[in-house]
């Protein structure tokens, strides 16, 4: 499974969303996912992808933004 699919499964499982609504361009806001819920998703993603998301503010608006963040950290942290 690629990053997007894994992330989609996390969101579907956590928030009981219809998988079809979770597209790369969907904003977290449109999915009714607030900043606290985003931390919760990141927590699960850290476990799934064996990464550590630093505490500094990251600008996340869409699902794709989260995918990009995860991919970047995986690449950096595997080095």
């Amino acid at each position: 499974m690629d990053t997007f699919e894994t992330l989609r499964d996390i969101i579907v499982d956590k928030f009981e969303k219809d998988p079809a609504t979770i597209t790369p361009d969907a904003t977290l806001k449109s999915l009714e996912i607030d900043s606290l819920d985003t931390f919760d998703i990141i927590f699960d993603a850290e476990e799934k992808f064996s990464i550590k998301v630093p505490n500094e503010q990251v600008d996340i608006k869409t699902v794709q933004d989260v995918v990009n963040l995860i991919d970047k950290l995986r690449a950096d942290q595997q080095k």
Partner: protein, 411 residues
């Protein structure tokens, strides 16, 4: 000073004896016990393996995300609040939500969330905790969850005075309505502390009942010579307190009137109760209600079944009621529902309101061996129906010494 009369218009409960006020009270009257072997994966490692657990599956009531972001204590509180609002027939969309507040009591708040965090860190060696840990563990999480759910913007406070927490929360909420700071208050308590660490801490205090070798359900024996201590329980109870005139104007069912509240501190010892301190709180409540001691027709005792509490409380009742003490029926319903700590006073207040409504007094079960130091009428083993009772009193005392006494009356 003019004060308003305060009606009790809604009842909500989750308890080891049922999850509606009617079911709870009919089990009390039947002398049923909610105490049994604890169902938990750590039960083998406990010295005392009994508890009074509530049957509650959060996923039947909340979505997955909500259930997983609320500690069990908040789930209890939110569910009991919904029940109380429905029972009161309140249409919140028609209400001025600034005039509706929430006062809750809890002893240990999100105990399970704290413990889960420690287990992850210390036992499992995890580096991080779940993002919701603080929000689930904080003592005010339950009261806050109710405010968020219903958009209630009035005063929102959490009282933590150990075993008297929800007596104090109901009493202070009563004052809010009585003195006009709020028109409606949701008041009560919630507790969910049946976790490994918490039970172990209680074991260390040596205040827990030994399991009855013949019948685990009969392990809590208040006022009996062979009493050995308390049994921990969990649950929540929330009542709706409302300005009486307003309640009557909207045609609400008035379950009872709350008329008296007394509180103070024993200021004598962290665990040992002081009859003088307890008596002060009872007198304060009776004064607040504008009553005389002989007006009280039933006392729901704190009655923990620890050796010290029950004899001290008996002595305190004698200090207040003098010669008349032996004529007042007193019972400890903890013999059946266990000690729900921060929720216990609210659960027992609901027992008192149901007693008034049904003119029926629940018993103290497991009382077969009289103790010379406990010589009042404890309604031993069998409840009484068809009584004539106008005013009832609910006693709550606590480690730390904070007492709370509530009086409810027929409206």
């Amino acid at each position: 000073m003019t004060v308003r009369r305060v009606a009790v218009t809604g009842l909500g409960i989750i308890s080891p004896l049922g999850n509606t006020a009617d079911e709870f009270f009919s089990n009390l009257m039947a002398g049923k016990s909610g105490i049994r072997h604890l169902k938990a994966d750590f039960a083998d490692r406990l010295d005392t393996k009994i508890a009074a657990q509530a049957e509650f599956d959060a996923l039947q009531h909340f979505g997955k995300h909500k259930a997983s972001s609320l500690d069990r204590v908040s789930q209890f509180a939110l569910y009991a609040a919904g029940q109380a609002i429905t029972d009161a027939g309140l249409d919140l969309e028609q209400e001025d939500k600034n005039r509706i507040g929430i006062y809750l009591g809890t002893g240990m708040g999100g105990a399970a969330s704290v413990e889960e965090g420690y287990v992850r860190l210390y036992r499992d060696g995890a580096e991080r905790l779940k993002p919701f840990t603080v929000l689930m563990a904080m003592n005010n999480a339950a009261a806050s969850a109710i405010a968020l759910e219903y958009g209630l913007t009035g005063s929102n406070l959490t009282f933590s005075t150990a075993c008297s927490s929800s007596s104090v929360s109901i009493g202070e909420a009563f004052q809010q309505v009585r003195h006009g700071y709020a028109d409606v208050m949701l008041a009560g308590g919630a507790e969910a502390l049946l976790t490994f660490g918490t039970i172990k801490a209680w074991e260390a205090l040596r205040a827990m009942a030994a399991e009855d070798p013949e019948d685990p359900a009969a392990s809590c024996k208040p006022f009996s010579a062979n009493r050995t201590g308390l049994v921990l329980g969990e649950g929540a109870a929330i009542v709706i307190l409302e300005d009486m005139e307003r309640a009557m104007a909207r045609g609400a069912t008035i379950h009872a009137e709350i008329t008296g509240y007394g509180s103070g501190n024993d200021s004598s010892h962290i665990t040992q109760p002081s009859p003088e301190g307890q008596a002060r709180a009872m007198r304060a409540a009776i004064d607040c209600a504008g009553l005389k001691p002989q007006d009280i027709g039933y006392i729901n005792a704190h009655g923990t079944a620890t050796p010290l509490n029950d004899s001290a409380e008996t002595a305190a009742i004698k200090l207040v009621f003098g010669e008349g003490a032996s004529g007042i029926p007193v019972s400890s319903t903890k013999s059946m529902h266990g000690h729900l700590m921060g929720a216990t006073a609210a659960v027992e207040f609901i027992a008192c309101i149901m007693a008034l409504k049904q003119q029926a007094l629940p018993p103290t079960i497991n009382l077969h061996q009289p103790d010379p130091k406990c010589d009042l009428d404890y309604i031993p083993n069998v409840g009484r129906r068809g009584v004539s009772v106008r005013h009832v009193m609910s006693n709550s005392f606590a480690f730390g010494g904070t007492s709370g006494v509530l009086i409810a009356s027929q409206p």
